[in-house]
């Protein structure tokens, strides 16, 4: 029968998050006065869990007939979701206030989404993976359209919803075909298969390909990226940050768990498909980003390009060590991207402050924010002293070691190209006149300590990832 000690420990983080979400919903429903404590409850749950997860490192909890495996890989992915969620919650307090959006359901849906993401990373069964994916997708569909007064938000939400529902169907079809080939939905059973017949192999190829397509929608690989710019632009900026960081990590962690760790490479190899997807994704993402004026759209295309770089890491990955490199890239990417979006959210006053031109002369208006944004953009561009460079270096090195030199050359050329649109914003901020800045940075200066704290924390984390990465690298390479 069920072993209750393990049962509780392996899904404890999710239980806490869902409970916190329910408490928030009850407060929202029955005690409107206590509304302002919702964010506090969410924050306590998330920060507490960060400490808890670090304390259970290396414990490899298993439960539910090995259907849930909270190993170091899952813990590291969970750490990324929780760190992202903590920063988003801090920043959202101010953001929702300014935009006059109701807050109750926001935190509840965010916490449920994080719980589902932890589930998806620790799931060892494809049914659990599918249902968790659906849970956080549904939360995100709602959160993208959370500002009901914004037409663009609703448009983005509907596009995301329809394409997301379609991709979920494709993913499920892929899972069914893999089940047909292998006879089990458990990933451990998948890793043990050998000596498949030709017909089963074809089934497995079709199934794995469809799973790749279904997850490709979530990480916006290029033929499946159509929803990304609209959803990213329409969503409240803090949610855009969360989607770019946490959703991508969740889908990539599933890809790693299925394709790198569990799918036996002697039976089936999808590297050449990933190879093509990686090249197309980075190139298209970067080229379209070059011509974007809206800064959120630009970062949306930049996130597509980064998905391409991470896919290079997947191509180069053949075991746990390389998977660690990819996870390190993901945490670096999550932190710098969230940082950039938080600065944008902080500066955003209505929809007028999203064009790149508005950032002209920002350095003279608010030097700290300009410094922070410059740092995050340098990280995203991957220039040498930053964590972005370090992460790219590890990922590309693994690919070169595996013999994918052409792929890495294209990736490096792409990063050089990408530097243009990041540096353009920095030039706008620092090298344009004081007067221009004053003319364009209008609106009353609202200064929020909490939102500023979030930016400072993101800044400190990216600084640590850049200059003292050993602690995070140790964690990332420990599975």
């Amino acid at each position: 029968m069920l072993d209750f000690t393990q049962l509780n420990a392996s899904i404890l983080p999710e239980i806490i998050l869902v409970l916190a979400a329910i408490v928030i919903l009850l407060i929202e429903g029955f005690q409107k006065k206590l509304n302002k404590y919702c964010s506090l409850i969410a924050l306590i749950a998330v920060v507490g869990l960060i400490y808890y997860l670090i304390s259970i490192w290396n414990s490899n909890l298993k439960g539910f007939y090995a259907g849930v495996v909270l190993d170091n890989f899952a813990l590291f992915a969970s750490l990324i979701y929780l760190l992202s969620a903590a920063l988003i919650i801090l920043s959202a307090v101010h953001f929702l206030d300014i935009k006059k959006i109701e807050s109750g359901e926001f935190y509840a849906l965010l916490l449920i989404a994080v719980a589902a993401m932890i589930f998806i990373s620790s799931a060892n069964d494809m049914i659990t993976i599918f249902i968790s994916l659906e849970i956080f997708s549904i939360c995100l569909y709602v959160l993208v359209g959370y500002d009901r007064n914004s037409v663009r938000g609703v448009e983005g939400a509907i596009k995301y919803f329809i394409l997301g529902a379609f991709s979920a169907g494709i993913l499920l079809y892929g899972i069914v075909l893999i089940y047909g080939a292998v006879g089990s939905t458990n990933l451990e059973a998948l890793s043990k298969i050998q000596g498949l017949e030709m017909s089963q192999k074809i089934l497995l190829y079709f199934g794995a390909g469809l799973v790749l397509v279904g997850l490709g929608f979530k990480i916006s690989l290029v033929p499946f990226h159509m929803w990304t710019p609209d959803a990213y632009e329409g969503a409240p900026t803090v949610i855009t940050a969360f989607m770019a960081a946490a959703t991508k990590t969740a889908a990539f962690s599933v890809l790693i768990r299925i394709f790198v760790i569990n799918l036996p490479s002697h039976e089936i190899s999808l590297e050449w498909i990933l190879w093509i997807l990686a090249i197309v994704t980075m190139t298209v993402g970067n080229f379209i980003a070059l011509s974007q004026e809206n800064i959120k759209r630009m970062l949306a295309y930049s996130s597509i390009a980064h998905a391409g770089y991470i896919t290079v890491g997947l191509v180069g990955a053949s075991g746990n060590r390389e998977a660690g490199n990819v996870m390190y890239y993901l945490i670096v990417y999550a932190m710098m991207n969230i940082g950039a979006f938080l600065v944008i959210a902080h500066l955003e006053r209505g929809k007028d402050f999203l064009s790149a031109l508005h950032y002209k002369g920002l350095a003279y208006k608010n030097t700290f924010l300009a410094l922070a944004l410059s740092w995050f953009l340098l990280c995203l561009a991957g220039l040498p002293p930053t964590s972005g460079f370090l992460a790219k270096y590890y990922v590309f090195l693994a690919a070169v070691e595996k013999g994918y030199t052409i792929l890495v050359i294209i990736a490096v050329l792409n990063s050089a190209l990408a530097a243009y649109y990041y540096l353009r914003i920095i030039v706008f901020m620092w090298m344009h006149g004081k007067e221009e800045g004053k003319a364009l940075v209008k609106g009353e200066e609202t200064w929020s300590l909490i939102s500023m704290t979030a930016i400072v924390i993101a800044l400190l984390l990216t600084l640590q990832l850049s200059f003292m990465p050993s602690r995070f690298l140790q964690l990332a390479l420990s599975f």
Partner: protein, 164 residues
């Protein structure tokens, strides 16, 4: 007898599916979908999964389709002006249908790995599997419903004035 029933359900299902996308009126499409779902229930019954067959009829053909029909009536979608199938995408669709059809044909003529659910007819056994091996996905669906409920409630409540 069994193969006769199979072909009967198969023809009804395919014909019903074509009706779903070819009808101009939304309500006819919805009613055709009920036919499709009922014939699916027939397939499950033929496979010996009588519980799944019953669920298919009660949940899909019963509850969910009633909601469809209600929503169509409430929205007043009585006539569709445009033909349901757009010719622009027709040929592309045929290509993809043939691709998937060929794939499925190949799967069925070659040997499919036998994954027969031996004891699936018994509701007791189903509940044992659901609350044993698959307890996590089973419980997760309740969180899925919670999230969907909260989300739907939030999006539908109150009236936000849309900006231009």
């Amino acid at each position: 007898m069994e193969s006769l029933l199979f072909w009967f359900f198969a023809i009804v299902a395919v014909a019903g599916s074509i009706m779903v996308i070819a009808q101009r009126r939304a309500i006819y499409s919805a009613l055709s979908l009920i036919i499709v779902l009922c014939s699916f229930a027939g397939f499950f019954f033929l496979l010996g999964a009588s519980f799944v067959a019953a669920m298919q009829v009660i949940v899909y053909a019963g509850a969910i389709m009633i909601l469809f029909v209600f929503i169509i009536w409430l929205l007043g979608l009585r006539t569709g002006e445009e033909p349901a199938i757009k010719m622009k995408w027709f040929y592309l669709a045929i290509v993809f249908c043939l691709l998937i059809g060929a794939q499925l044909f190949y799967i069925f003529v070659t040997n499919f790995k036998e994954v027969v659910l031996e004891r699936s007819t018994d509701i007791k056994e189903i509940s044992k599997v659901l609350l044993g091996k698959y307890v996590i996905p089973f419980e997760l669906t309740s969180i899925l419903f919670l999230a969907a409920l909260v989300g739907a409630f939030y999006l539908a409540k109150g009236k936000g004035k849309a900006e231009k």
